[in-house]
Symmetry: C2
Subunit: 360 residues, 2 copies
């Protein structure tokens, strides 16, 4: 069987070239006689791998010199706690809730510390983003937290001009980081789980401005202290070495594609094709306001929900899998991260049109 088009929200498709290289050097990396999985993280081979990965990532995202890049573990969910534990310092933080993931982040911040809800679009079923006038910032907040792309609800912040807070800006970019250029200097801390646009699950990326380091209380778990991780180059203990290696291969692949500006053009074309198909059909529907629609996660429902199961089964026959929507939203969801080729979206669109012609 051929490789298929996998529309999973994460873990998700990886570039085939990356997987082929990983396969070819799995038992013997660059003639060193061992797999990357077997290498001591303190040796020169792995030191070169992690340094190259960090350097390529800094280049791709144009990370300013006064930001640390950390390769951590635990996913965005660990960050939901780690961020307030490091940054609150006895104060409260502001949270904007625009979907399932920022809602979880807000809840966790209130579990381990104190957080204030400064805007939510839950009453609109998370189909839009809040206007600036709807947000009541606290000038004394330790930070403002946002999720710039909501994986479940398919809402993306294409600009952040509504976020003119005077406090540090913290952004969960898990599901759209590296999909387009972003001005890191507008943020004080950016984070994301790897399993969408970076690499395998089990790796978490944190990019943090140096002035936020060192605010953690004395009784924080050492592993969760950003300052300690930064001092140790993400190697306080053994990092997830193989995941970092695969992420490094993804970064090299992105550079070969022309970097993030080129990726953005492809991602715009992919999303446009799918949204146009949805919007011009009589069977499919996406509820999100056009200006807030995600290029990465595109939920859509069928006007005849009794067709959902047939849609999924017929899609699978065409090599289109993991298309079922999240249970909170229902229907379908197509996650079309960097590694999903335009051909994959074309195959999906073609299938959707055939399906509508047959059953719609």
């Amino acid at each position: 069987m051929e490789r298929i088009y996998n529309f999973s929200a994460g873990p998700a498709m990886l570039p085939q070239e990356v997987l082929e290289q990983a396969r070819d050097e799995l038992l013997n990396w660059h003639g060193c006689g061992m797999s990357v999985m077997e290498m001591t993280h303190r040796g020169k081979d792995f030191s070169a791998i992690i340094a190259q990965a960090e350097g390529d990532l800094r280049e791709l995202l144009n990370v300013p010199a006064n930001y640390k890049v950390l390769f951590l573990q635990g996913g965005a969910t660990m960050q939901f706690a780690q961020i307030p534990l490091n940054l609150l310092a006895g104060r409260s933080a502001d949270y904007i809730v625009t979907g399932a993931w920022s809602k979880k982040a807000f809840k966790e911040a209130n579990k381990v510390g104190s957080a204030r809800l400064v805007a939510t679009t839950e009453a609109s079923n998370f189909t839009r983003l809040p206007q600036k006038a709807e947000i009541s910032f606290d000038p004394d907040a330790a930070y403002l937290h946002v999720c710039t792309n909501e994986t479940v609800h398919g809402v993306e912040m294409h600009d952040i001009s509504a976020l003119e807070a005077s406090v540090p800006l913290v952004a969960d970019m898990s599901s759209h980081i590296l999909s387009r250029p972003v001005d890191i200097s507008q943020y004080n801390l950016v984070y994301g789980g790897a399993q969408k646009n970076i690499g395998p699950a089990g790796l978490t990326l944190v990019i943090v401005r140096e002035d936020l380091l060192g605010r953690a209380p004395a009784n924080i778990p050492t592993m969760l202290d950003y300052a300690v991780q930064a001092e140790n180059g993400s190697m306080l203990n053994t990092p997830p070495t193989y995941s970092i290696y695969i992420a490094g291969l993804v970064f090299q692949w992105l550079k070969k594609q022309g970097g993030l500006a080129a990726m953005e053009q492809t991602n715009i074309a992919k999303a446009k094709l799918l949204y146009e198909t949805i919007d011009t059909s009589c069977l499919y529907h996406n509820p999100v306001e056009p200006a807030c629609r995600s290029r990465m996660n595109i939920p859509f429902t069928l006007n005849k929900p009794e067709l959902d199961e047939s849609f999924i089964a017929e899609a699978k026959k065409q090599g289109i899998v993991s298309i079922k929507g999240h249970k909170m939203v229902g229907g379908m969801r197509a996650s079309i991260y960097n590694a999903m080729p335009l051909e994959g979206v074309q195959a999906l669109v073609s299938f959707m049109q055939d399906f509508e012609n047959q059953y719609g």
Copy 2:
């Protein structure tokens, strides 16, 4: 270049058959059209992978039914904090310090909570284990923590009869788990980083008796709450899926070798060969009391430390790498986990004898 003999303390060698299988199915697992790295963790394929891994591990270690098996992240170092955060419940815990790793665990427990040092062999440079009479247990302790194999100092608890405490027993088994049969029912919580005898770095195994669940305070990070992880089958969020898959292949390999009783015989033979070579030589020396010597991590010094660099360089020419000792102990260290074949130890011993004949 051929694959070499890697004596690293971790990440460490993996069985070649495991790596070959991982390579062969890297782009397309069991004909599903995708890599295990790309699979949603909520789908039936990955559900089968993790269920098989847990089932095989339970069979190998004969884990009683009233213990949960958790696949977590953050390594043993995260556990050093997670254990007291979950189990202290406002009390203090007892720690026995027998080397670098239990010393770190004790320090971290005192950072996030309260811990009492009930015995230490630091005055003997961690070359022995404490006698029962040297240990002053606290009958009100929340638990007693030990490290049953000290990776840096090469000290292993071959029996735990000195630990007749009346409180729950917690053991860091990172560097010798799966190297021999162990009676899990003698422990209340057992844990280990994967990167020695289990699989790739980035995966942490916790085996915990159910009655220890649910003791965490309300403000603990959700990711660190054992009860929540147990309720969610280690999938509160995306687990380190690829590392779990590789660990599962290692478990299947162990079963094919005849299980842990068979592995123990091989490990005894490997360790005996190396210790006898050290003890009968005039050049090499291991300082640990024979009854406490580790079968997994064997540190040794050269009586002529000026030969250290030559030893390492000459070894490398023979395909023997990562043999340099930890800086706390100096000299050399051979870590000979399950995946190190007897032939690897024979090659090391043969090289050591040749080196002694030439330079000793």
